[in-house]
Symmetry: C2
């Protein structure tokens, strides 16, 4: 597996591959990789000739007071996982390589309400940072396909819209949430949890299962499903709900009735750790 740290090296490898007629898949990550990321790499390896993963904790998607400094990092382990899953190249730039002196002036941003909903309420600049760094990676790699986890459902919907709006020629592949055996969605941030918190964090996946069951049993009122999920989460004394919302999967607009492609998403603080989970129906 090739490891590169500069944009120039990255571009030179993928240009060579494109010239050889090889298809290139991109898996953008912030590192501290787990089985969720591994599933993205597996999917990429299965459908592309060459797979590039990026490992970069992107500062422009963190707001003041968020966990940019604390965000877990273990590049050695990341490389072992990526190589074991057949990744061909890992791009691991310094911040100064991606955002040279003076910082970046140019941003890619959705000016509609999509980045203001859900996580955007408490993280107002988050998706601007995501769109900007993902654009940079697209421009560097010019991938045929890019792979994103459904766990970051709002991010996935926003990136799909960005790709359509900006005429990117990349196919966006959304991949299912990967969970621990007890149901907790895999997340690099799970490492922040104490043993007790880890146990309490199961309220998120319990709420997901409850919502999915209500839908399966015929409930179509977004209000009733969301309220039942909130009640389930509130059983934990360590859980503090940021939001539980039912929205249109494509537009992220709030809905009253669970019809068409629907995303039911939540963010919940377990102690100081903010976790997200979601399910999709009708897509």
């Amino acid at each position: 597996m090739i490891v590169v740290t500069t944009q120039e090296e990255l571009r030179s490898y993928v240009r060579k591959w494109h010239k050889e007629g090889l298809s290139v898949g991109l898996v953008p990550t912030m590192g501290y990789l787990h089985e969720g990321h591994a599933s993205l790499v597996d999917r990429a390896v299965a459908s592309c000739d060459r797979v590039v993963a990026s490992v970069f904790v992107n500062p422009t998607q963190f707001g003041p007071g968020e966990d940019l400094q604390a965000y877990p990092r273990d590049f050695e382990h990341d490389c072992e996982l990526l190589e074991a899953h057949g990744c061909d190249l890992v791009f691991h730039p310094e911040v100064s390589e991606m955002y040279p002196v003076g910082g970046t002036a140019t941003f890619v941003e959705l000016l509609n309400d999509m980045p203001k909903q859900l996580c955007g309420v408490t993280r107002p600049i988050h998706f601007r940072g995501v769109c900007t760094v993902v654009s940079k990676l697209f421009n560097l790699v010019n991938p045929d396909k890019a792979f994103f986890g459904q766990k970051d459902a709002q991010q996935l919907s926003i990136i799909r819209r960005m790709v359509s709006d900006l005429s990117y020629g990349v196919e966006i592949v959304g991949c299912p949430i990967v969970r621990d055996e007890d149901g907790l969605a895999k997340s690099s941030r799970n490492t922040y949890l104490s043993a007790e918190e880890r146990q309490e964090a199961l309220v998120l996946s319990r709420a997901v299962r409850l919502g999915e069951k209500m839908y399966k049993d015929g409930e179509r009122s977004a209000f009733k499903v969301v309220e039942a999920m909130k009640a389930e989460i509130s059983k934990s004394s360590l859980a503090c709900i940021d939001y539980v919302s039912a929205v249109n999967l494509d537009t992220l607009e709030a809905i009253e009735t669970l019809e068409g492609p629907v995303l039911v998403a939540m963010a919940v603080y377990i102690g100081k750790t903010r976790l997200i989970d979601n399910f999709i129906v009708g897509a």
Copy 2:
């Protein structure tokens, strides 16, 4: 010469060329082409295997009350000029092809002061529209080189910055201003001028020559050069100065002393027609 109107057709042609190992040059235009545009095509033909020109009056770069509807159009003549100069493909989309129903939500924007200076004072959303449509064209064509006129000097500096910030792998080629014999810079908007206005519009190029001469003769005070140019322009009773400014060519920051790469730029109303002109020293 191939004429295409859809993004899909455009992408399919350039992908084929890239697969064949051919280099592709892009000349983005708003049509109503003149010798200035022709010089860009000539430059592109000389250094790229295939040349794509776009002819698209981009609505997102026009503000309320500007000349979007009135902007001159003559696609038949544009095609004759492009073909005569060796262009391989012209992309001529409808507005609905570039901005489908519901409009575009995603914009590319410089959040520093560069788009707020010079023309940005009276055209606050102009450069956001320019950056967004140019990004779309870059993503569609994935050009090796893209060609822009130095007449739109602020646009050129902003696009260079955008390309660097967003890690685009395209070489930006700036091409000299092309002038009529009497000095007037070629512009599609010159067609708005009456015979009398056309004569009075020569104050712009006279001011440029005056400024260049002062610099050549050793004057380094931005204030003195700008004031002399303003006085020259004010000799015309039909001319109304929007701005005359000396700025750093790369950052567009106002400067006191003509040192390093300097752009001296102006916008002047001749009657109702807003014209621009400029010169660069020290680059």
